[in-house]
């Protein structure tokens, strides 16, 4: 009886956990915001109800048998044990039902596969552990990374409404236009999934897959990576922002303007102080999660930069570490992720903050040569 008592002891505190604080009892698939997602939803519901009906019939007979043919009620077993007719009937009926399911499914699938005549092509690249979006026609692109802070993840801070489903820069697309997604990956297999668009496509290194969507309503739609891709598979969300065509055009212009400014910044003559000021912002956004705002890190996984051999040693080493990362550690290669200006700024900042006072700097042009 010991095990039973132990069980009670364990179960009781569990049941006593009082609050279901996050009440969002969504139990079903989203209807989504595209024609495809709607037909997928309808297909899902149709098949669900067919299964429910079959279930009611089969389990109905079973429960009837359980209640009516109990030995304790004096039931005497019948002798029958085969009937070819019955076997044939219950082979054919499911077969017919299946054909009924296959027909609409085939139609929806064919629509999904028709990627022709797109108005906008976006290349999506999966990285460990972030996404990159490239707008092919307009010649710009950017990374989209998790915006939730490490403090929220490690329970040091209140979790926000969009905990783990927020990014620094969402994918922006216009509504009512056929947007084609060309999906690939940089390292391992990822999968780009936004439930509201009913789009899920594996991102495979060396290969390109495609999918499409015509979003009908402006709004923000959130999704996640759906293929195990390593340590931070759970931390690379997708946010799609669908806007009106006009808003989209404005956004593209702003993006291009930003790229132009970036280019100009790269070629301007920077002073040490300017780089340090900009570097602080870059640092807080990209580095502080691990190395901490104080530069003291969280040893041993995340070493301190304050007074560290790299940040106060030869600048070549420092630049290499930031550009190419350190394999086998959590230190990523930031070279492909940040602009030359930001890279120069952050390296300069790290060499001159928290009493590191090296007094040297690296310019964006120098970074560009090494990149």
């Amino acid at each position: 009886m010991l095990s039973r008592r132990r069980l009670m002891a364990l179960a009781l505190p569990c049941l006593a956990v009082p609050v279901f604080t996050h009440a969002d009892w969504q139990v079903n698939m989203t209807r989504g915001v595209t024609d495809i997602s709607e037909s997928v939803f309808n297909l899902h519901m149709t098949i669900f109800w067919i299964c429910v009906i079959i279930g009611i019939v089969v389990f109905g007979v079973m429960f009837w048998s359980i209640f009516a043919y109990r030995k304790s009620k004096g039931a005497k077993p019948a002798q029958f044990h085969e009937s070819t007719t019955v076997e044939i009937i219950w082979t054919i009926i499911p077969f017919v039902i299946l054909i009924g399911m296959a027909i609409p499914a085939t139609g929806t699938l064919m629509k999904m596969y028709d990627t022709s005549d797109s108005e906008l092509d976006i290349k999506i690249t999966g990285y460990q552990w972030k996404w990159r979006y490239d707008y092919l026609k307009d010649d710009f692109g950017f990374f989209s990374t998790l915006a939730t802070s490490q403090d929220q993840i490690y329970n040091k801070d209140q979790k926000g409404d969009h905990y783990l489903l927020e990014v620094d820069e969402p994918l922006v697309i216009p509504v009512n236009k056929k947007v084609r997604f060309l999906v690939t990956a940089n390292d391992v297999i990822h999968s780009w999934w936004v439930p509201d668009l009913a789009v899920k496509r594996d991102a495979i290194p060396g290969f390109v897959n495609e999918a499409w969507a015509i979003v009908k309503e402006p709004g923000i739609y959130r999704g996640q990576c759906a293929e195990l891709c390593g340590k931070d598979h759970g931390f690379m969300p997708i946010v799609v922002k669908a806007v009106s065509d006009q808003e989209y055009q404005e956004w593209v212009l702003a993006k291009q303007e930003q790229a132009r400014q970036e280019y100009e910044l790269k070629n301007k003559q920077w002073t040490l102080q300017e780089l340090v000021d900009r570097g602080e912002q870059v640092y807080l956004k990209n580095c502080a999660a691990c190395h901490q705002a104080s530069g003291e890190g969280l040893p041993p996984a995340f070493p301190a930069l304050k007074g560290s051999a790299i940040a106060t040693g030869p600048i070549e080493n420092h630049i290499n570490t930031v550009l190419h990362g350190v394999s086998g550690t959590a230190m990523q290669a930031f070279g492909p992720q940040l602009s030359e200006v930001d890279l120069a700024a952050v390296v300069t900042y790290e060499r001159n903050a928290w009493g590191n006072n090296k007094g040297d700097m690296v310019t964006p042009q120098e970074i560009a040569e090494k990149k």
């Binding site: 095990s3 069980l7 179960a11 569990c14 049941l15 956990v17 279901f20 996050h22 969002d24 009892w25 969504q26 079903n28 989203t30 997928v40 297909l43 899902h44 098949i47 299964c51 089969v58 389990f59 007979v61 079973m62 048998s65 043919y69 030995k71 304790s72 039931a75 077993p77 019948a78 029958f80 044990h81 085969e82 009937s83 219950w90 082979t91 499911p94 077969f95 299946l98 296959a102 499914a105 699938l109 596969y113 329970n155 409404d161 969009h162 783990l164 391992v188 297999i189 789009v199 899920k200 060396g206 290969f207 996640q224 759906a226 293929e227 195990l228 390593g230 340590k231 931070d232 598979h233």
Partner: protein, 527 residues
């Protein structure tokens, strides 16, 4: 080797040897069967503990107990241990115990190979488990180990994982050959194929699946090994290979593997339901044909695990239709079980409770399987908790419940004692509640958009995850009760008769309880 041979001959005349050597050198099908079952139960507890680590981390949003890298090791090891360490050896154990008794044979056809095939397993799993303590940690790429995450990006322990898989594969293949040889060569006179109990039939078909697909698994891990250490590029696009090829070869093994884990469960249910319905199994021949057609179909449906990798339209359609077809023979089996119960004379001892729960819950898992087969909708289900709910519904109340049912059903025959019925029923109900609490809410979070294999999740999934975690602990702790019941039954209890169950039919019930060390020294006559 001469010691083994000598032991074998001694066994024949004097029953079991004493001490540890009995277990190390034994060639007796009952000893080996017991070892398989105990081994599988230990693995079930280890794999289950890992599941509890996973559920504890997922109890609430945020990272609390483990770090993401270790979480991935837990999901991977949980899957590998449950599939290859718990479910498969348990069924081989049941086959060892029951096939010779059911076909009227004295022992398995190849007793020395039988000893080998068991004793490889502890080494294989020690190797696999030791990777937890290695530099870089245990395998962390999921039990499906997709390349290149499992090759270029794998921890160094992947090599040990590969050797572990090779050893398990060799063990399974030897076990399967033994079952085939026993069934084909050692049947009692008059026991024609179509008179064999369904458990024997399903195991014969399973054994053929095993020898057909375990070598493919061995092949795919060998290719990984070569990619990692010998510079080939089967799965690396850089050298002209293709990571998607890995998935094709893996699932060519993987889908039949799913049926390897469920066909013997069908067999168990087909033995137990007629007994407690006191009525012959309805549609015996159609059960055999249905099992065989499920096995054949399992070879042409593998790519339904890969609907999102970008198959051409024609491929998607073919695999969708083929997969849907499997619903037909599976449906036939369910209808036959229900018809067996219909107008029977039912009692509800623990094995029957587990068998009924098996039919109901396996059918629910079958329904979600049918939904997953619909390719366009699978884009929404794929790699979400809906899939996790689906395969746990077919594996836990499917495979695991049938193993519990089998254990309760044949324990009196094995030990000579009746188990404690009240405790058995408690075990059933607590397991039943725990499992539904654990896995049913997973359907909801999956549909609402929660991907599988993530260590942390968005706030809207919190409540259902909390329920799942509580259910998982209830289910997990309940299994210690099973251990207690089995130990209690071995040590004593009401003496079991030879017949044990009023409605039981089959050769094993003609032997006394406990069954003698050598089953049928004189072949029985089957009418």
């Amino acid at each position: 080797m001469s010691a083994v041979v000598g032991e074998h001959h001694d066994d024949h005349h004097h029953g079991p040897a004493k001490g540890l050597t009995r277990w190390i050198f034994t060639t007796n099908h009952k000893d080996i069967g017991s070892m398989y079952l105990w081994f599988s139960f230990i693995m079930f507890l280890i794999g289950g503990s890992m599941a509890l680590v996973i559920r504890a981390e997922l109890f609430e949003p945020g990272m609390q107990i483990v770090v993401p890298g270790f979480f991935n090791q837990m999901t991977t090891m949980h899957g590998l241990i449950m599939v290859f360490g718990a479910v498969m050896p348990a069924f081989v154990g049941l086959a060892n115990w029951l096939v010779p008794m059911m076909v009227g044979a004295p022992d398995m056809a190849l007793p020395r190979m039988n000893n080998w095939s068991f004793w490889i397993l502890p080494f294989a799993f020690t190797l696999l488990l030791s990777s937890l303590f290695m530099e870089g940690g245990a395998p962390n790429f999921g039990w499906t180990f997709y390349a290149p995450l499992s090759t270029t990006y794998a921890p160094p322990s992947v090599t040990f994982f590969i050797f572990g898989v090779h050893m398990m594969g060799i063990s399974s293949i030897m076990g399967a050959i033994n079952v085939i040889a026993t069934i084909l060569n050692l049947r009692a006179p008059g026991m024609t194929l179509m008179k064999m109990p369904l458990f024997v039939w399903t195991w014969l078909i399973t054994a053929f699946l095993l020898i057909a697909v375990m070598p493919v698994l061995a092949g795919v891990v060998t290719m990984m090994l070569m990619d990692i250490h010998f510079g080939t590029s089967f799965f690396s696009a850089a050298g002209g290979g293709d990571p998607v090829l890995f998935q094709h070869v893996f699932w060519f093994f993987g889908h039949p593997e799913v049926y390897i884990m469920i066909l013997p469960a069908f067999g168990v249910a087909s033995q137990i339901i007629p007994t407690f319905s006191r009525k012959k199994l309805f549609g015996y021949p159609s059960m055999v044909y249905a099992t065989a057609s499920i096995a054949v179909l399992s070879f042409i449906v593998w790519a339904h695990h890969m609907f999102a990798v970008g198959l051409p339209l024609a491929g998607e359609l073919f695999f969708m239709y083929a997969t849907m077809l499997i619903a037909v023979p599976t449906g036939v089996k369910v209808f036959n079980w229900v018809s067996t119960m219909f107008r029977g004379s039912l009692t509800f001892e623990t094995p029957m409770l587990f068998a009924i729960a098996f039919v109901i819950l396996f059918t629910i898992g079958g329904f979600s399987g049918l939904m997953l087969a619909i390719a366009p909708v699978d884009f929404q289900y794929h790699d979400t908790y809906f899939v996790v709910a689906h395969f746990h519904y077919v594996l836990v109340p499917g495979a695991i419940f049938s193993i519990f049912a089998a254990a309760y059903y044949w324990l009196p025959k094995w030990t000579g004692h009746m188990y404690d019925e009240a405790l058995g029923k408690a075990h059933f109900w607590l397991s039943f509640i725990g499992l539904n609490m654990t896995f049913f809410p997973m359907h909801f979070v999956g549909l609402a958009g929660m991907p599988r294999r993530i260590p942390d999740y968005a706030m809207q999934f919190a409540d259902f995850n909390r329920i799942s975690s509580m259910g998982a602990f209830l289910f997990g702790v309940t299994q210690l009760l099973f251990l207690f019941i089995v130990l209690k039954c071995i040590r004593g209890g009401k003496q079991a008769t030879a017949q044990v169950w009023e409605g039981a039919e089959g050769l094993e019930w003609t032997l006394p309880s406990p069954a003698p060390y050598h089953s049928f020294t004189e072949p029985p006559q089957v009418k």
